[in-house]
């Protein structure tokens, strides 16, 4: 589904990704771990097409298409979803309105009929259950005045409604208490599907107790320095990031 080949990317003059190669197949869950500053979030943002990063080399192929040649909204319409590390607030726009606008844009791009607010409510009702939320949240402005945990849950709700083919969760676990973590992870697990793939970007192994990955990659200094099965996450937890950094010769 996703083929990343020797991907290099910079922010300003600083090269952050220094040749990432990664293949993610449909049905798989990959965890990308690593110390702060390793380039984990940059990788997530570059896949989504954030304009602050310049791709300086390599390729990304998504479902046979050149992902790097697509606008961020085209990527979203083709099924790429990024759960943001810092979800953005949009004052005065209700959560329901925003989510329906997104839902309909994606449907429209895929030749499907748009849903009116009433029909959309039915879709929403079912998905709200996934994140254990009542309908009240939908009339609040997008992420405005939301707690950190609520913002992350809102990302998972959006993911559930938009039903992406490739979901990237960028540090979705950071700042979550154990209950919120369980809800967020539960939401992700319920969306697991043979035709979907998920990339979980995280600093801690904790989330992986709930979302069990098929593959674990360790990113350090802008490169993947180690890949393995789910047991790699546990080993990291026990031995710390210095272990892989030392092994890979990254300062």
């Amino acid at each position: 589904m996703l083929e990343i080949r020797d991907l290099r990317a910079s922010a300003g003059d600083t090269e952050i990704l220094k040749g990432i190669t990664l293949t993610v197949n449909a049905g798989e869950v990959h965890a990308v771990m690593g110390p702060n500053g390793a380039g984990k979030s940059t990788l997530a943002q570059v896949i989504a097409g954030h304009p602050s990063y310049e791709v300086t080399g390599g390729s990304v192929t998504y479902m046979g298409r050149d992902l790097l040649d697509m606008e961020p909204e085209e990527r979203a319409q083709a099924g790429v979803f990024l759960a943001f590390q810092y979800p953005v607030e949009i004052a005065g726009v209700s959560n329901a309105y925003f989510l329906r606008a997104a839902y309909n844009e994606i449907r429209k791009a895929n030749g499907q009929e748009e849903l009116d607010p009433i029909d959309f409510l039915d879709v929403l009702e079912e998905k709200l259950k996934l994140v254990e939320w009542g309908p009240e949240i939908m009339s609040r402005a997008v992420n405005s005045g939301f707690s950190g945990g609520e913002k992350k849950r809102n990302e998972i709700l959006q993911m559930a409604v938009l039903e992406p083919r490739l979901a990237i969760l960028d540090e979705t676990d950071s700042g979550l208490d154990i209950d919120a973590l369980r809800i967020v992870a539960g939401g992700v697990n319920k969306l697991r599907h043979p035709e979907r793939a998920t990339i979980v970007v995280t600093h801690y192994q904790r989330l992986l107790n709930y979302i069990v990955p098929d593959r674990v990659h360790v990113l350090a200094g802008g490169r993947i320095v180690r890949s393995g099965g789910k047991e790699l996450a546990l080993e990291l937890e026990a031995r710390g990031y210095e272990w892989v950094e030392d092994a890979a010769g990254v300062a």
């Binding site: 304009p51 606008e71 909204e73 990527r75 979203a76 949009i90 005065g92 726009v93 844009e105 997008v142």
Partner: protein
Amino acid sequence: MTTSMDAFVNKEYKYGFVTDIESDVAPKGLNEDIVRLISAKKGEPAWLLDWRLKAYRGWLKMTEPHWPNVHYEPIDYQAIRYYSAPKTAKPLGSLDEVDPKLLETYQKLGIPLTEQKLLAGVAVDAIFDSVSVGTTYKAKLAEQGIIFCSFGEAVQEHPDLVRTYLGSVVPTSDNFFAALNSAVFSDGSFVFIPKGVKCPMELSTYFRINSADTGQFERTLIVAEEGASVSYLEGCTAPKRDTNQLHAAVVELVALDNATIKYSTVQNWYAGDERGVGGIYNFVTKRGKAARNAKISWTQVETGSAITWKYPSVILQGDNSVGEFYSVAVVNGKQQADTGTKMIHIGKNTRSTIVSKGISAGEGQNSYRGLVKVLPKADGARNYTQCDSMLIGNRCGAHTFPYIDVQNPSASLEHEASTSKIGEDQIFYCKQRGLNTENAISLIVNGFCKEVFKELPMEFAVEAQKLLGISLEGSVG
């Protein structure tokens, strides 16, 4: 910013066409003879001519104000034409007699005037250059004693009402542009809602400038007697021309005891091109006077004009009276706006609310200027002011000039202000959810303006949202 945002292209101003119609015009320039000519053209009584002449003589002694935060070349008042009327217009005739070319013009503007196609639930007075060309639903409104007609017609048919209230809120000596308007005003709308009557439909005036080199000086007077209520809306457009045109209107609102007047404006005068050539100078005086328990509410969406200079205000004279000001002002390209309100608290327990949303894009400069004044006898006066600015791009400016003058210790005032920049991150968030840049900006800006839009009558709120989208196209770069 990024190329995806740069890719935005400016949409044409779609109301920029000119109607080819023969006009009866006054020679250029201003002197007492022109004032007399205008008065004579309109067949006015002597008292009104005297009133105009007094205003004109006062104006001669005044100087153009230069305190607003706007910049423009000096206006040559002798190069302006002060009267222009389509030759075929019959000011007092029925709509059936209106020149088809004029009907067609309003049709193109989305304002059907022919009886079969009237806007449902909205009565319209259509002003073309200096005169009213027709008013819809007049007879229906008259059944309840409501008068809705052109100003010229009101002078002829309801002279006592006009004489009682004209200049009672904005005196001829009020300011330079109000004095000029008083001397040369040509037409406008007149509304009278008798005691206890709730006006059953929205009243609306549509202003259209057509002739070149012509100033538009309309005068609107709305009187709501005791316990009456009315909601009124004005819209404005003008052709694209490469010279600046002056629009100096005066609006007076009189709300007697327990009356309510809601006045909404969607202003979309031609703004000039992207280099700042042409466009309307919108220098307007709007003020209402609220008696006991009365309420006056101004809502404005200002997207057009090269320069906007207006401060719709409320004199809260009666005890417990309420004043409101809800404003969205958008500047793009080279537009400049200096707008806000004045809330003058005179009566006890008077309350006012100010919500101002300024959006600056392109090289636009947007200033909020507001005065909250509490006089010594206004015990328990309260004001809440919220003043938010949004910047799009990095070549525009937002400025805030709040003035507070409190002379009564029991008054309570709140002022909140914010400035935000529409961020790459906000836009990227929307794009990542499948929205394109245009829709993302429209969504964010409409959210920003929501508190003001919800004050607009339903059908106009939709128009205002669309207008905002068009005004901001090409704004991000």
